[in-house]
Amino acid sequence: MKQRTGVVLLATFVSVGAWGQDVSAFSTTMVQVRKQDTPGFPTATLAPATEFLGIDASGLGIDALTLHLYGWGYKDLADASMPRGKSGGDLSYAYLEYRFGKANAQLKAGRFSISQGGGVEQVDGVSGRTDLKGGFNLSAFAGAPVHYRTAQDSEQSNYNRAQDIIFGSRLGLRLGPVGELGVSYLQEGSKAPKDLSSPPVDYTRKQVGTDLRLAPAARLELNGHTLFNVASQYQAPGSPALDASKVAEHDYTASYRFSPTVALNGNYTERNLEAYYAGTNLPNLFRLDEKDKHKAMGGSLLLSGFGATDVTVDFRHIKRDSYGNSNRFGFDLRWAVPEAKVRAGGGLHKVNASDALVAGPASPSFYGLSRSEARAWVMVDRGKVSCSLDGIFYHFDDAANPNLNGKASMSQLVGSVGIHPTENLAVSGDLSCGTNALYQNETSVLLRTTYRFTVASKGGSK
């Protein structure tokens, strides 16, 4: 979207918001000051001021028509904090939505995020959904994909032209209490660019997805999806025939509730990198010529109802063909006493991972990736005053890991104090200090002001 178009759209949407009978405007302004002292780099003082602004409005002449707008902008008050300059911003979403009284039908127009099947996309366009007779439901969207920068500026125009349109659809079938099945399709781009330095490649993205939710018993539930990459793949002249799977991803979770307070969960994920990475706009990092495969499986046991405490014990095993194995296990606690307006939590985890190969030297050498993690936090919210403390600590088994710059541990402590002079105004300040591999010592201060203006006639606020 061109900047001028964005400004016109923004002004239109803001003025449309003023017509609404129910309007909620929310603003968060933050100023952060941080001294960045990295060995080998000049010292920098970073002071970005950031504004997040959103508006939700309903009753725009028609009861079922609503407006939603959200964006952010920043300006550096000292050195540049971002690689592309001292100021910037983005319109995250700005759309009109119409909700029908029947069939949970809705239409959206503008810039919005859509999560449908396996795809999560940001689109400038239109979308719609409705329930159909017989338990079916149908959703679809079409428009222009919101573009992001590519790694190489010189290829940006080619990339934009190749990905000029995005559309998708999902057909679902609800099987009553037993579950739901869905099939979806997503395509981005209608033609391949012809003037790239590399040989012509089908940069269009074509993805077919199936998803399911099965609950054969009241306490048992299976959720998941499988995505297939159905675009033709680039094959370099003279290279061996491609043997990569069309399956981009399997992602499934099963859960069984023994009782309202005890639940067991298991999950399985499999991803074939070449198919999974199709459609990336960072191809030098998420390499489309990868033939690697990744599998992960794990589980967790959730115990709740011990007074005010929830306990989650978890385990996850990851296997990557080109690397090795990694196992993460541990537990998390959450504790809440609503009467005292206190919440707290924390956890301990251990990661046992295969050693990684050092790239470059003629004789192979390895470094360790295993570590221990600990976290503890507490929050008190007593209406007019709130405060929180959050501490994180990592200890690494192999201090000789070149990524650690000789530091065997990292820590960070964030303290926050806030006041709420009125129901709609909150001011808070965060002080963060820590030590890590990149910065010998890191301290930052952040001041946050949140303001909400609401004119609502009914219902709970969001």
């Binding site: 950031t50 997040f52 939700d56 939603h68 959200y70 592309r84 910037g88 983005d90 009284g101 029947k102 069939a103 949970n104 039908a105 919005f112 995020s113 999560v120 940001q122 329930d131 007779k133 992001y148 790694a151 559309f167 209490p177 869905g182 209608s190 998803d211 939710r213 009241a218 959720n223 979770t253 309202p260 639940a263 990198l273 999974y276 459609g279 990336t280 706009n281 960072l282 990092l285 967790s300 990557r320 939590g345 990661v351 990684a356 990736l369 929050m379 403390l389 959050d390 990592y394 990524n403 650690l404 960070q412 964030v414 591999a437 990149l438 946050r448 219902g459 709970g460 606020s461 969001k462």
Partner: protein, 158 residues
């Protein structure tokens, strides 16, 4: 030319589909766009008020499926992909944008440093830690950074 053809095809399919679909649309009443009562702080358990096993009309799923347990927070992608309008009954879109805004210069854990109770990606010094996690599982980066929010990525990954 191809773009025009695709758009024409979509328009024709939409028109034809609309005619057929009007007779096929469910006559059921839509559920409320906003939760009728204000919810308290913390993660809500729908089954605290709604009958255990009862189905949420319009989603054809039991209320327990939407209980905000620790596992629900980890797996919310599945329900958000099918029943985003159920999420919208309580959450404004901005709540999702705290993590899923697609492009932002401020890490979610910094933006919400006063909310340690919310599960945020990349707490602590993740700039160092991502070198560890990406070795074992580079696909975990792709969900958020494979197509968006990569202005920072290209500083090093050129």
């Amino acid at each position: 030319m191809i773009r025009k053809a695709v758009l024409l095809f979509l328009a024709a399919a939409f028109g034809l589909g609309l005619m057929v679909a009007c007779g096929a649309v469910s006559p059921a009443t839509s559920f409320a766009p906003t939760h009728p009562q204000e919810l308290g702080p913390g993660r809500p358990m729908c089954s605290t008020c709604h009958e255990e096993g009862a189905a949420l009309e319009g989603a054809a799923k039991p209320y327990t499926a939407f209980n905000h347990t620790a596992q629900f927070v980890k797996d919310h992608r599945f329900l958000a992909g099918r029943d985003s309008n159920v999420c919208a009954a309580c959450h404004a879109q901005a709540f999702c944008a705290d993590c899923h805004s697609g492009k932002t210069m401020m890490a979610p854990d910094v933006k919400l440093g006063n909310r340690p109770d919310r599960d945020m990606p990349h707490r602590g010094d993740y700039l160092t830690l991502h070198r560890f996690d990406a070795k074992a599982d580079p696909t975990s980066c792709f969900k958020c950074h494979g197509r968006a929010d990569n202005d920072k990525c290209i500083l090093c990954h050129k």
